[in-house]
């Protein structure tokens, strides 16, 4: 497995939408390289024919009757919002300026 470089960490952090500082990048690159080197051992254990397991118990789809039932009011749903306007979440601009 290729080692995780500082550039890789910067790229993955961008994908995860975490704006890391240079100091954080320096620190995490070293630690993550160590962690990735350690978890890499999973590649040596399981052979191709082993069935992957995503969940400890068999999962079945759970549905309920499609009936209206009580839910949060707009007021309580918005109570934790950083900013709300006219019973809606207010967010920063979503388009680039140029």
């Amino acid at each position: 497995m290729p080692a995780l470089s500082r550039d890789d960490v910067a790229h993955v952090a961008m994908l995860a939408r975490i704006d890391l500082s240079d100091a954080e990048l320096d620190r995490f690159a070293v630690q993550l390289e160590q962690i990735v080197g350690w978890v890499d051992q999973v590649g040596e254990v399981a052979a191709a024919e082993v069935t992957p397991m995503s969940h400890p118990l068999p999962l079945v789809n759970v549905t309920r009757p499609d009936e209206v039932r009580a839910s949060l009011s707009a007021q309580s749903a918005l109570a934790g919002a950083p900013e709300a306007v006219e019973e809606r979440f207010s967010v920063p601009r979503i388009l680039d300026e140029e």
Binding site: A16, R17, I18, V39, M53, V91
Partner: protein
């Protein structure tokens, strides 16, 4: 117990319930006694992030009024409880130990919290934890660490160090915990208390702040095995709001705790997690406890689960992968921290999101999100997440083979006793190894319980033994642990917690 005569905080939860029915004290008096103790001692323990004195007292008075009027009440009515800050609570902040959710008050109760309220149990407050339950020491809480009541210079374990320390310091009779890789059981071991992780799906997770959805489970943190079974029965059982909730009654855990004779019970000692790399005092107490199980009539066998040695690596791919997805919801738009980048006049939503996530998450959370995003990214998915899922299958097969030979499995709960603050600061992998014995149960979904089995010779700190049972057979671990607990407390002349240093004296010295 004689030194604490007359102080109701030192009773077990089961005794408190009996005393309330007998009218020896009121629920209000019981809650007030805990609030007074929290006021006096939590400054040095920091088990709680939030204390709800008015809410707890109001719930207690309502129980007392109904009892005075001979209204029917649930069995545990009036016995207070603490809740890990991972569970949503109406009217109380829920932070998951993160600055991302500072002061956030959820608009609904988690099902476990609703069940505590239906059981008429006053909620004392919310307990400290590693941020988003990522950690094994409670040092990763954004609100500062919790101290271990046995030695204030040491951690209580984690992520549920707050719940375990609250129970160990008699700041709550019992508490709710969550266990994704050992966060109930490992703190129980490090604080001389009891902690149980039920079968995956045994307790609803509706309203629990998700860490890794295929691993997370809610369970009781208590001082006795009986109390653990009683609290398990209150919170367990099917919930239509959680699609992974098992649609069957709670296993007969309360009935199991009267077990004293283990004749005919087959117990397997898991070789891979019971010796090498474990502290000498942990091994010594564990081996003695296994002898006690033999004395009680159990047949003890050595069992090999060869793939358990790869469980840690698989876990540290599966957990970060699921966590990176679950924590994507903290996007600074609908709730939680919003903090724009400095020096940008009109930042975009994406810039605000990235800068909020940098400001709101701590180091361990960022490390795991980045690791999980990497493991799930195109080109690496098969090598990491796919391989980890195959290892998970092999671990489940090891359990299945072991449970054909024996009824329950045992191991030490944690490789060491409580460690000092800062010991694993710069070495995340060393910290991860604390959960080496507890993680296999989460990967396979089987239940596990930790109970205290003595103090290590080298440091006098408590040692825990873990009992693992097949999925949905939770009663087996309660039966075996109840028999062992009765034998050990008989030998000790009282519970192990009686040997913890008195915190009142710490306070006087401070």
């Amino acid at each position: 117990m004689s030194t604490h005569a007359g102080d109701p905080c030192f009773l077990t939860a089961a005794q408190m319930a009996t005393s309330l029915v007998a009218g020896e004290f009121t629920s209000e008096e019981l809650v007030q006694a805990h609030l007074d103790r929290i006021e006096a001692l939590d400054g040095s323990i920091h088990a709680y992030l939030h204390i709800d004195a008015p809410g707890a007292l109001a719930a207690a008075r309502a129980v007392d009024a109904d009892r005075a009027a001979d209204e029917p009440l649930p069995p545990m009515a009036g016995v207070p409880v603490a809740v890990k800050d991972v569970a949503c609570t109406l009217g109380m902040p829920t932070t998951a130990g993160s600055a991302m959710l500072a002061d956030w008050v959820p608009p609904y109760d988690a099902t476990v919290v609703a069940r505590l309220r239906e059981a008429r149990m006053p909620i004392l407050g919310k307990t400290n934890m590693d941020e988003f339950a990522m950690g094994s020491s409670t040092e990763h809480s954004a609100y500062g660490p919790t101290q271990n009541p046995w030695d204030l210079s040491r951690t209580p374990g984690g992520s549920g160090g707050g719940s375990a320390a609250a129970v160990a310091a008699y700041l709550a009779p019992w508490a709710i915990g969550s266990d994704t890789g050992g966060s109930i059981r490992q703190p129980a071991a490090l604080t001389g208390t009891v902690g149980a992780k039920p079968t995956y799906g045994g307790v609803s997770r509706y309203g629990i702040i998700a860490l890794a959805s295929s691993l997370d489970q809610i369970g009781p943190c208590t001082r006795t095995v009986t109390d653990a079974a009683l609290l398990h029965a209150v919170i367990g059982g099917h919930d239509p709001m959680d699609s992974t909730s098992i649609a069957r009654p709670v296993p007969p855990v309360v009935g199991a705790v009267s077990t004293r004779d283990l004749t005919g019970t087959r117990i397997g000692v898991v070789q891979e997690i019971s010796g090498e790399g474990f502290q000498a005092g942990v091994r010594a107490r564990f081996e003695e406890a296994v002898e006690r199980l033999r004395d009680l009539g159990a047949e003890v066998h050595e069992v090999s689960c060869p793939h358990f040695t790869s469980a840690m690596a698989a876990y540290y791919l599966i957990l970060p992968s699921e966590a990176s997805s679950n924590l994507a919801r903290y996007d600074a738009m609908r709730y939680g921290l919003r903090q724009g980048p400095e020096g940008i006049a009109a930042p975009s939503a994406e810039q605000v999101m990235s800068s909020s996530r940098d400001a709101g998450f701590g180091d361990e959370v960022k490390r795991r999100i980045i690791l999980g995003t990497y493991a799930l990214s195109s080109g690496y998915y098969e090598a990491y997440y796919g391989q980890a899922q195959k290892v998970r299958t092999l671990i489940a097969q090891d359990f299945a083979a072991a449970f054909e030979q024996v009824d329950v499995l045992v191991s030490p709960t944690a490789p060491t006793t409580a460690f000092r603050f800062g010991e694993n600061d710069e070495d995340p992998v060393a910290m991860y190894l604390n959960d080496i014995a507890t993680i296999p149960a989460n990967l396979a979904g089987v239940p596990g319980l930790s109970l205290p089995v003595g103090q290590a010779d080298e440091d006098g700190l408590p040692v825990g033994l873990q009992i693992l049972a097949p999925a949905t057979q939770d009663e087996r671990m309660y039966a075996v642990s109840a028999a062992l607990e009765a034998a050990l407390t008989d030998t000790w002349g009282g519970p192990l917690l009686d040997r913890a240093p008195a915190l009142e004296h710490e306070e006087v010295r401070a």
